[in-house]
């Protein structure tokens, strides 16, 4: 194994291949606080990419209710249990990654779901973490909680699927870091299914090959955000490109949220894959749960998000989520107007941070009527 640097762990780690970063890395931020689990993203993806034979059970995009939801079943718990202790010292991970804890004869520590594990895509949906006692809904704060976690392939910097494949059928595109399964080369060994901790590679029994989220690369090549982004009702998603921490640009939306404000965090960074879908953690969830999912920065991220109202740039940037189908790679704020800018330098969208408020008096002087709000 080679030694590579994983900035999410704050240290070097072992990986199957030497470090080779793409020219730019596709990345995204999902705001969990805005997701309503309407599954429009799931359907947008499903109807676009996985409505063929053998793809019936595939959900390249899914939304699960945490803490009990998972697809495939217990994909997260099983690996967390296998990985044993996952210690952090400050922002440095001192536990072992899935690469470092690979058993003898294996490339990655992993497990392969069985058919039945794919049979419950909505398990735990809307289930609270705790029992709701009589009258509890009348008290604040609510001690019972859940939240929605939307998931796609993380297009990791160190993909476990890629390193698991013994015949090099998975590759990471140099132009944008999107991870793809070469459908012409794959022979369906399902090693990638076993290796991916997020279980975002699926085996197609009709073609005998494995398939996964392609980040809608034909759209990205045209500067358009993927299907699950542009169809998101809750406007929770923003796609772009992420720089390495030392090269972070304050006008790059993803860099700003991830590196500068540190409000968006990777999912299960302790696995060691350097995943590139970043989450703004839910603000109403116990801190220890957030830290298990999103790492030690979760506590601070929640504080930053709660304070976004007083942070004009951050608040403005959050307004850009779901406001345009174009890929926004730069943003600026002038007063209360935030502008999303494309690669070409053209403004993709301008958003007022505060929408104009019109107060209609209850009394209609012309008609001498009292207006009511209900139709």
């Amino acid at each position: 194994m080679a030694r590579v640097y994983n900035w999410q762990l704050g240290r070097e780690m072992s990986y199957w291949y030497p470090e080779s970063r793409p020219k730019r890395q596709f990345a995204a931020v999902f705001d969990t606080n805005k997701c309503i689990a309407c599954q429009t993203c799931t359907l947008a993806c499903k109807t676009t990419w996985t409505s063929g034979k053998g793809q019936e059970y595939m959900l390249w995009n899914n939304v699960e209710t945490k803490p009990y939801g998972s697809y495939p079943l217990a994909y997260d718990l099983k690996l967390l249990e296998m990985l044993n202790s996952q210690q952090w010292e400050g922002e440095k991970y001192t536990g072992q990654t899935v690469f470092e804890s690979a058993p003898a004869g294996e490339r990655v520590l992993g497990w392969r779901p069985e058919q039945q594990d794919y049979a419950y895509p909505n398990v735990g949906e809307d289930d609270c973490a705790n029992q709701v006692d009589t009258g509890a809904l009348m008290k604040l704060p609510h001690m019972s909680w859940f939240f929605y976690l939307a998931r796609i392939c993380n297009h990791c910097s160190y993909p476990a699927c890629l390193s698991s494949c013994p015949r090099g059928s998975i590759y990471k595109r140099q132009e944008d870091g999107i991870v793809l399964v070469d459908q012409n080369r794959c022979r369906g060994y399902q090693e990638c299914v076993k290796g991916c901790p997020y279980k975002k590679v699926f085996f197609n029994p009709m073609t005998g090959t494995s398939e996964k989220c392609i980040a809608c690369y034909p759209k990205i090549e045209q500067g358009i955000q993927p299907q699950c982004f542009v169809n998101c009702i809750g406007k929770i998603r923003l796609a772009g490109y992420i720089s390495r921490p030392e090269q972070a640009r304050a006008d790059n939306p993803i860099d700003y949220l991830v590196h500068i404000k540190k409000v968006a965090l990777p999912l299960f960074p302790q696995y060691g894959l350097e995943p590139n879908i970043y989450y703004i953690p839910p603000i109403h969830v116990p801190d220890n749960f957030n830290r298990q999912l999103f790492g030690p920065r979760a506590t601070e991220a929640v504080k930053t998000y709660r304070n976004a109202f007083n942070d004009r740039d951050l608040a403005g940037l959050l307004c850009l989520f779901g406001s345009t189908e174009r890929m926004v790679t730069r943003f600026t704020r002038q007063g209360d107007v935030i502008t999303g800018i494309e690669d070409s330098g053209a403004a993709a969208v301008r958003i007022p941070m505060n929408e104009p408020v019109h107060i209609r008096p209850a009394q209609d002087p012309r008609n001498q009527l009292v207006r009511i709000n209900c139709p």
């Binding site: 012409n184 299914v193 197609n204």
Partner: protein
């Protein structure tokens, strides 16, 4: 009644004394005019048998860590143009339906692409030596035997609302409909030969090292497998290696995958090189 019982005992005793195949220390393809049609063909009765001990695939990760299939019994016949192998191994758990987390039974025959005194590395060849592989799979056999190309053939209780290529606007079986269905099966659309639908249960492959397996030139291969409670008997035919047939000899290797043991790709039981000759029947 007594006569019948006595007759049965005599038959059983005679059956028990029936001679098995001649055991040979190398793989011998006996020359014949009529090649067998299936692994159950009586032509196999006179072919000598080599019992090949199977080893763990221990060269590359992922390695085979657990010894599963112990041995594969190999017989061979040749008509001078084709060579036919009969591989049999114990496997009482039929695995012929692929699926998430479900592997299928399979076997393969590997021969150096060129006759040489120095054969390439036995595990998939090497940079200096290409190997030819003829690969048979149980799910392909099931397809050839008549299993349909639909999810309901794999999962009879599956319910599918609609496929885009089943839209009413597309005439069923038309070229336009077939073309659209291909687009929804990426591996098929790209021409990945392993992606089906299958017309034969074997494929011809070449390799020059682990991880390099790719489709090879046609070896006119064919195959047929039968599963019983004892295990698999699989017949694989291919072109006789060029130059083989007289006093020359080459090497041959075999691999077996047990689906129920989650074996697939590099996770397999395999042999080392075994001498392989063609011999005239005595």
């Amino acid at each position: 009644m007594k006569t019948t019982i006595a007759l049965l005992i005599v038959l059983l005793v005679l059956g028990g004394c029936r001679r098995g195949p001649e055991l040979v220390p190398e793989v011998v393809a006996l020359k014949t005019d009529n090649l067998p049609a299936s692994p159950g063909d009586s032509a196999w009765d006179r072919a000598p048998e080599h019992v090949a001990r199977l080893l763990l695939q221990d060269l590359v990760e992922p390695r085979q860590m657990k010894a599963t299939t112990q041995e594969v019994r190999v017989r061979a016949l040749s008509d001078g143009a084709q060579v036919v192998f009969r591989l049999s191994w114990a496997d009482d758990d039929l695995s012929d339906a692929p699926g998430p987390g479900k592997m299928v039974d399979a076997c393969a025959v590997q021969i150096p692409a060129k006759l040489s005194a120095e054969p390439p590395a036995p595990q998939m060849g090497d940079d200096d030596g290409l190997v030819q592989v003829t690969y048979w799979r149980a799910d392909w056999q099931a397809a050839v035997n008549g299993r349909g190309d639909s999810i309901k053939d794999l999962y009879p209780n599956a319910v599918v609302d609609h496929y885009p290529f089943d839209a009413q606007s597309l005439e069923k079986g038309s070229d336009a409909q077939k073309e659209m269905a291909r687009r929804y099966a990426p591996a098929r659309a790209l021409g990945n030969l392993r992606a089906g639908p299958r017309e034969k249960p074997v494929e011809d492959l070449i390799a020059n090292g682990p991880g390099t397996l790719s489709p090879g030139p046609s070896l006119d291969s064919a195959g047929s497998g039968q599963h019983t409670r004892q295990g698999w008997a699989v017949q694989i035919s291919r072109k006789l290696p060029e130059g083989l047939g007289g006093s020359e000899r080459t090497q041959i290797a075999f691999a077996v995958w047990q689906g129920s043991e989650q074996e697939s790709g590099a996770r397999k039981m395999r042999t080392g090189w075994i001498p392989f000759v063609v011999r005239t029947a005595p």
